[in-house]
Amino acid sequence: MNRLVVVAAVMLTVFGVSCKNKGQKSGAGKEAAAKVYVEPGKYDEFYNIVSGGFSGQMSVYGLPSGRLFRVIPVFSVDPTTGWGYSEETKPMLNTAHGFVPWDDSHHPALSVTSGAHDGRWAFINANNTPRIARIDMKTFRTVDIIEIPNSSGNHSSPFITQNSEYVVAGTRFSYPMDDDNSNPDVPINTYKQNFKGTVSFVSIDPKTGNMGLGFQLLLPGFNFDLARAGKLKSGDWVFFSCYNTEQANTLLEVNASQKDKDFIMAVNWKKCEELVKAGKATKKAVKFAHNTYSEETHSAKSEILKEVNMLDPKDFPGLVYFMPCPKSPHGCDVDPTGSYIVGSGKLAAVIPVFSFDKMLKAIEAKTFEGNFEGIPVLKYDAVLHGEVKKPGLGPLHTEFDGNGFAYTSFFVSSEIVKWNIEKLEVVDRVPTYYSIGHLCVPGGPTTKPHGKYVIAYNKITKDRYLPTGPELTQSAQLYSIEGDKMKLLLDFPTIGEPHYAEAIPAEMIVKNSVKIFKIEDNKHPYATKGEAQARVERKGNEVHVYMTSIRSHFTPDNIEGVKMGDVVYFHVTNLEQDWDVPHGFAIKGANNAELLIMPGETATLKWTPDRIGVFPMYCTDFCSALHQEMQGYVRVSPAGSSVPITFSTGATATPEPKK
């Protein structure tokens, strides 16, 4: 029976390619529309915080409507908000490799208290140049980015511990470490001797959220894929999936699929923390950036830090154990009670479910089958709660509804499968269109799932939307999980590749949302708090324009005395104190784009004139009925010119003196 379904599912995917969606159900019935309809002017029930995938950003949708509210710039420059273009935000994209304008983000993690959502912060990883960012949910802005040294491909990140003590960062690619004791210039085929892995624990200040590099663990060289912190009874532990325990450095598709089992790694972070506090960690010299953004100065700063606490688990037994897990595990998800760890072997025909209680017993009884580079490997049977048999093809990720059920995504058979955690029995399955990756139940990774929906984040949309050339939209699909049967309600397009997402009840965020920045509190060194202070100052060849904007004029709006060879900084303060009235700023020929300035904020555009003449500047955000009047001019004179610095607004030409 089960097998038939699987075969059918395979048939479906195979034929899905050639026969498009002919004869294939759209999935949702007419009654689905009423379930996702949010009346104009009404709010959605949930925020859906979705990774922007290879856009490097984070996107925010409403559920159940699937409406896109916002793209929060994180790891990539953003032409809409000026992120990475304004002088204030450029430092946020600084790294030990310099300014990186575009990265790849995968997994949002929302802050938790006692294992449940608290609505304070969202975290997300940069995969390519390893970093973690923190977004403040009061402003929906990125306020903190920390780089992870000794890491390449920060994929198993930023999964969060149950009181937001740490977010983790596991290196996907092992490589010759870049710390002071390593020798990175080695032949690639010396993987086994020279390549190492690390996982990092990034600390979070409980009050401010400020991130710091708590400590790293030095681990055998293979690929660390995904992670989840334990909760409640397993709250002191974090679990990481590992593949390529074959330690292949080429054609991993084949060479990393040799072994029957790879590992889920269990790390006792509490013990690690104690050792670090007791000064037992080794200090390694590294180089990594820590960038923070202040909502008071409306500016970022970037520091390069030089040291990390490293623990080698070989020196400290009891920190790390491996649990064998079939066939290149990907997802590694902990149920809301903290009792079970679900491994998803990409190539496995079963879903193994590990028991935390059994793991502790096996550790105590030393039920080891051996060790891997000095780290104990527990016996599979000793830690296994059981296996879900024949669940589907290509299991990837699992989320939970808090009622004893798990929802696992199947990439190859394009479906979500619902199963009972205790009984390990499949109870329902629905097709996704197509090739689902991650999935999300609101609150699914927490101790208190909010339930109601499961959302599929698909890798392929093919025939679901009007075609737009070779590049198609990415997509999500919303299913109801309120009844016994999952029901498709809605397809909605997403940006980038929507890897993982979380969803949180709107009321946890809405009440804290900031509407304006108070001009009184603006501590930007170049703030202009009122038109009386507006001015232009020359410092050598730098010209600083202290400019204000209010509907519908700039002060000053006529500037003369700029010369070729000058670098002009427009520090624009938006004097509005009203919600939803940003002003923009653009000047012709600026090689560094434009600004968008929120009420009460100051932002700076750097402009290097490349020719003499008179250059218009204007507001790019339609701010009032007289928005088209919101403009001005800058005169640029030749290098040696004697035109003095002058500036004004509203001064009309003095008539030529009569002779």
Binding site: I519, K529, G530, L575, Q577, D578, D580, A625
Partner: protein
Amino acid sequence: MKRKIVFGVVLMAGLVMAACGGNDSASGEANTSSATSENTSNQAADDGKGVGKFTNVELTNPLDQKMVSAGKLVYDMKCGSCHRLTNEKLVGPGWKGVTSRRKPEWIMNFATNVEEMLAKDPNAMAMLEECLVRMPNQNLSDDDARHVLEFMRNNDGVK
């Protein structure tokens, strides 16, 4: 006489706007509350105190110079970009004579509750029709508003 007619026209325009204003009003909350506050807005037109929480403002005599200087700081930071201190119009009307045109309560209500005033107060609505720029809510505290009022009185030559 002439004044009355103008006022009547303005009032009409105001009512018409209130009736169709819902379409372009940005805030949903304002829409839902408009039905219930119809009465208050008529009253407001009657007593000239505007719509808002200030119903009785005690004036100082002589002027409180501390409040005047505090009011100047608020003016410089939050008002000066749109209001001259003469009777010359910039974005909004010049402030010369404003304390004789408007009751103190009206000024404080307008300064702190501008969205609702522009939606309901006939005098405010008439001004908007002329200026065509919505005065922003500049997020004043009650004290700020009182200080600005004192600053305006000073500007109007009150001792």
